[in-house]
Structure formats: structure tokens, C-alpha cells
Symmetry: C2
């Protein structure tokens, strides 16, 4: 593959001049510029990104660590980041972290080996200290879906407690009094916070949520089915199901329907995330919208800005709040119709 030197030789100029042309630098005569460009074209020249990164100590790439590409939630996340990367002409280095300590660590490490100075990281398995250390090393290290106070201005996160409250409040406003919760068995921040929000809100109405009314399972459709089966088997009476996410909600709903329990007439269900699935299950899922794509682009922009050395307004924080999306899986028990 042609190098800058080949171009210089053919065009009869020095390496420096070619480099200036490539980078649209100043101090090059128009005639020379054109000639060099023409030669580059002819030889199919492509700058060597590695050499460039080596000498400039900048990588023109954005590292991304997410849990799991398969999950539509992360796919949306990746999509948002990709949009920014494309706009800013930056290559994405992607790794899945699987919410496992070793894997997440290795993913970040590899990114570091590439001297990637902007990264958007979704980490649930690593502890605060480790992440703060990485942040100290990498100027454009941005955390998504997690808040750590020490590096708060580099965290783009969702208020899950408020989310939990909103879910519960909506059900309460629709006249529901008997609740069960279908939660994730992975005890990372998210389910814990959402649950605490739920509890907080229910407490305001003097409703208690005994442990037996909460079932933990894998945060996917199958997990939702299993959790709901267990709840049913336990003979608990309820009219409202609060699910950890849309997948679990959908699974729970499927299982109820298989047991001839009508949704929402007999039992109402609310999800969380508002992924595509929410619109396409039947009945359509009432859920909380997680503005993940917006957050992803924000995180990517932020990472790239920090990497460039820009200092975004340090007073703003990047906390987002989920919003209620009313569809057809929740019924108003006062009025007797779904809302």
C-alpha cells in the first residue's frame, strides 16, 4: 500500500508537504496542493491510522464497552453512539463486557492498548474505585447508565428510583392496591434502585410489599415467565404487576394469558425501557420510556469532547428521568377501562 513517501517521490515534493496536504494544513501553494492530491488519488493512498495515532498520540476512535449486543436495549445504545461516531468521523472500537468483572476489565484494557482516549463504558461489574482510576487515566472516559459521585460530570445516567416511583404511582392512580414485582436476579444497581423507588412510593399510600410478592429471575422474557409462574404457584392475589423491564413484562404477560388471566382486565402490567417489543406485544405494553438513544449520543459527544480537551460546563449533570408511556396493558380499576 502506498505511503506518504511514495506520494512525495512521485509528486516531487517532501514528506512534510504531503502531510500538510493530507491534513489540509496551511503553507502549501495551490499548484502543489493540487498536484499532490492528484498523485494521492492515482496511487490510491490511504493514510495509515496506526502510524498517525502513534505519532500524534490521538486515536480518532471511540471505544465502546457494553454488556451484550443481543439485548435490544444495548443495540439501541450502540446505535446512538454509532450516529455520533459517524458524524464526527471516528471509528468505533466495540467490546462486549457481559457484566463480568474479568471481561469488562479486559475490554477496557484492550481499548487502552489502542490508546483510545474517548470511551463510553457501560460497566456494572467493576467497582467504583477501578472505574475512577480508569477515568483518571483516560481523558474522555464516560460512564453510561451509572453514577459515581467522584466523576459525576462524566456519568450519563437514569434516575431509576424516580422510575420505580413513577411505575408505582401510575398503578396507584389507576386504583390498584395489590402488587407484585417481577425483578432481575442480578443484584446490580438498576433493579435495586427501581425496587426501592417502588417501595418508597407504595409506602406513601401505606401499602406494603412483602418479600413473597417479589420474584427474581433473569431479565429476559423467559425469566418473566418463570417469575410469574412462581408468583401464581404461591397463590398470591394481585391486580398489578411491576416488571423490571419490557422483556420480563412480556414474558409475565404471556404466562398469564396462557393461564387464561386477561391482561389488562384481570391483571395490569407495566414494563420498563420502552424497547421495540413494548409496542408489538399484545396488548401493547404500558411502560417507562428510557431515553437510551438520546443518552447514548450525549455520552458519545461528551467522551469525544473531553478527549479533545474541551471542558463542558462542569455545573451540569447528565441525569435523565424515565417517562410514562401509556399503552394498553394497564386498566383503570376506578373506571373499569384500560388507560
Amino acid at each position: 500500500m502506498a505511503t506518504i513517501k511514495d506520494i512525495a517521490d512521485v509528486a516531487g515534493v517532501s514528506l512534510a508537504t504531503v502531510s500538510r496536504v493530507i491534513n489540509n494544513g496551511p503553507k502549501v501553494g495551490d499548484a502543489t496542493r493540487e498536484r499532490v492530491k492528484k498523485v494521492m488519488e492515482e496511487l490510491g493512498y490511504r493514510p495509515n491510522a496506526n502510524a498517525r495515532a502513534l505519532v500524534t498520540r490521538k486515536s480518532a476512535s471511540l471505544g465502546v464497552v457494553i454488556a451484550e449486543l443481543l439485548d435490544p436495549f444495548f443495540a439501541t445504545l450502540a446505535h446512538g453512539i454509532d450516529a455520533v461516531a459517524r458524524r464526527q468521523n471516528v471509528q468505533i472500537l466495540m467490546s462486549a463486557g457481559s457484566i463480568e468483572k474479568q471481561t469488562e476489565l479486559k475490554a477496557i484494557d484492550t481499548l487502552l492498548q489502542h490508546r483510545c482516549e474517548a470511551m463510553v463504558v457501560h460497566s456494572k461489574a467493576l467497582d467504583d474505585k477501578t472505574l475512577v482510576e480508569f477515568a483518571a487515566q483516560v481523558p474522555g472516559f464516560v460512564l453510561i447508565n451509572r453514577y459515581i459521585e467522584d466523576i459525576g460530570h462524566r456519568c450519563v445516567w437514569l434516575d431509576n428510583v424516580a422510575g420505580g416511583q413513577t411505575m408505582a404511582r401510575h398503578m396507584l392512580s389507576q386504583g390498584h392496591k395489590k402488587f407484585v414485582v417481577v425483578s432481575s436476579k442480578y443484584q446490580i444497581d438498576d433493579p435495586i434502585q427501581r425496587l426501592s423507588g417502588i417501595r418508597k412510593e407504595l409506602a406513601l399510600s401505606d401499602i406494603e410489599l412483602p418479600e413473597s410478592h417479589i420474584e427474581f429471575s433473569t431479565p429476559d422474557q423467559e425469566g418473566g415467565e418463570i417469575a410469574m409462574r412462581n408468583l401464581l404457584a404461591r397463590g398470591i392475589e394481585f391486580t398489578a404487576v411491576l416488571a423490571y423491564n419490557d422483556a420480563m413484562a412480556s414474558g409475565a404477560m404471556t404466562l398469564l394469558q396462557d393461564h387464561d388471566v386477561n391482561v389488562p382486565t384481570d391483571v395490569s402490567i407495566i414494563g420498563y425501557d420502552d424497547v421495540l417489543l413494548a409496542k408489538y406485544c399484545r396488548p401493547k405494553l404500558t411502560t417507562l420510556h428510557y431515553p437510551v438513544e438520546m443518552m447514548a449520543t450525549k455520552a458519545a459527544d461528551l467522551a469525544l469532547a473531553y478527549a479533545r480537551g474541551d471542558v463542558p460546563d462542569p455545573s451540569v449533570t447528565y441525569k435523565y428521568t424515565p417517562t410514562l408511556v401509556k399503552r394498553d396493558s394497564v386498566m383503570n380499576r376506578h373506571a373499569g377501562q384500560s388507560t
Copy 2:
């Protein structure tokens, strides 16, 4: 960040020796090896991937070009590739091509700038010639979901004609005689081939498929709804819907249900791809399983193997065939029950 030179100085050895330790090379005494390793540990040394790629002309990374991260089909594809990358200790460089000529071109170009010598490319917008040229330049250039004869041994693809035939054959076997097709409006190979397979199979039973029975729209749920709405508006009678993919099938199904048409009793629907959604929607979708994850890992393995200089058996080709997955969206009109 510490460099090899720092390690050498502290450990009191030469650069060459440190390099040998890093690469587990020979010619290093046990004592020295240990000492160097210890120093590397202490200094938190991380090899510079860029410098390494520059000097070795190998990049230890795998380029991936896919259409669109949001699409669960591509998410699965990416997931399969990621598994291989992780196993082989290779970093993924990911770009979305959006099925647009310029974008796909640019994505590949960027990969090339990184001197990525293994890439898995999903391209629908670029012509054969362009791709063959790239393949000539990049040893590990592998095409997924596309077949080009000149580089047939570097294509991992699905037999879409056979897929179309299977869809039609299944519906015929269930006693269906009145067909409509919901296809993609993007006239790339896939919908054309699937449609031709359908036609071929129907012809065997002397059933014709007039143009008015085919509706083209975007290959997503909304497109499925729109297409079905148009078909209904046209007043066409049918009992079998053959959809371009699961998303369209699901959209079409939703619309039918909204019009009080029962699936599968009144109308049977078959999808294509067998993505997660097929299991989530109600009734569960009978569909063709596209072994995309298996194909993705195959493609990634192949790309990496070619990049290493290995020459896989040139006599084998990587053609896959979709298989029928029977769920609940198709009814047997002979027996009167869903199969």
C-alpha cells in the same frame, strides 16, 4: 504511559529483551524474564497497539461492517462475531453501513486505514466489482449474506431461493391456496431471491401470484402494517401471508388483529429470520430460521484464518439453508388446527 523503554531502563535490560518477554519469545533467561515481568506489572505497562500494528503490519483487530445495529438481525450477527473476537483476543472495529453506497464505502475505507486485515462485511449497496477489488486488497475480507462467484470461497451466505420455496411449500402443505406476499421495498438480492423461490414453488402447484398480491414496504413492523393495510384495502382474498421477515410478519399480524381477523384461524402468516421477536409476538410466529449467529461465527473465523495466511479447504463453500420453525401462526386448513 510507560513504554518498553521505561521497562528496559528500570529492569536494566535492553529493549529487545523486554519485547521478547512481552511476546513470550525465546532467548530470555528465567530470572530476567521474571524481573522484567515484575517491572511491567509495577509500572502498569500496556503495549501500544498502534506501534505494534505499525511495525508488524498486522492489526490484531477484526473489522465489521453491518447495515444497522438497531436491527435485531444484525445485533445477532454482531453478537456472533463478538464471540469469536473475544475467543481469539481480537479487537472489533465496527461500522454501520446503512445500506448506502457512500456509507458502506466509507466504512470499509476507514477499516482499511486502520490496516485491518480481517473483515466481515455485510454489503448490499456496493457492486460486485468494488467488493472483489477490496477482497483482492485485504487477505481476510469475508462477505456475509451475499454470494459473489469470483470470491465464492470468501462468502458466507444463505440460500434465499430455497428459503422462499420452503415458505411456500409449507403453506401449500397446510392446504393454503390463496396467497399474498409482504415484501421489502429495497430491491436488493434478498427479497428478490425469496420472492423468486416463492414463485417457483407456487408454480409447481399451478398457483399464480399476481403483482397485485404483493405489497412492498420497509422491512420493519411498521412496513408490515402498511403493506397489510394496502392489501386489505385492495379487497384481496387470502388465507396465507408470506412475509419478508419476522418484523414485517409481526406488523402485518398486528394490523390483521386490529381488523378482527384472527391469526391463524382466518389467516395464516409465516415469517423469515427467526429473530427474538418471533417468539415474543402472539401468536408465536411460524418462521424460517436463519442461522445467522452460526454464520457470523463462521465468517469471523474465516476472516481471521485468511488474515493469518491459513488457507481453508478451497473446495468447501459456505452456503447455509434456512429451516422451518413451526409455531402458532399457521393453521392447517385440512385438519383445521394450527401446526
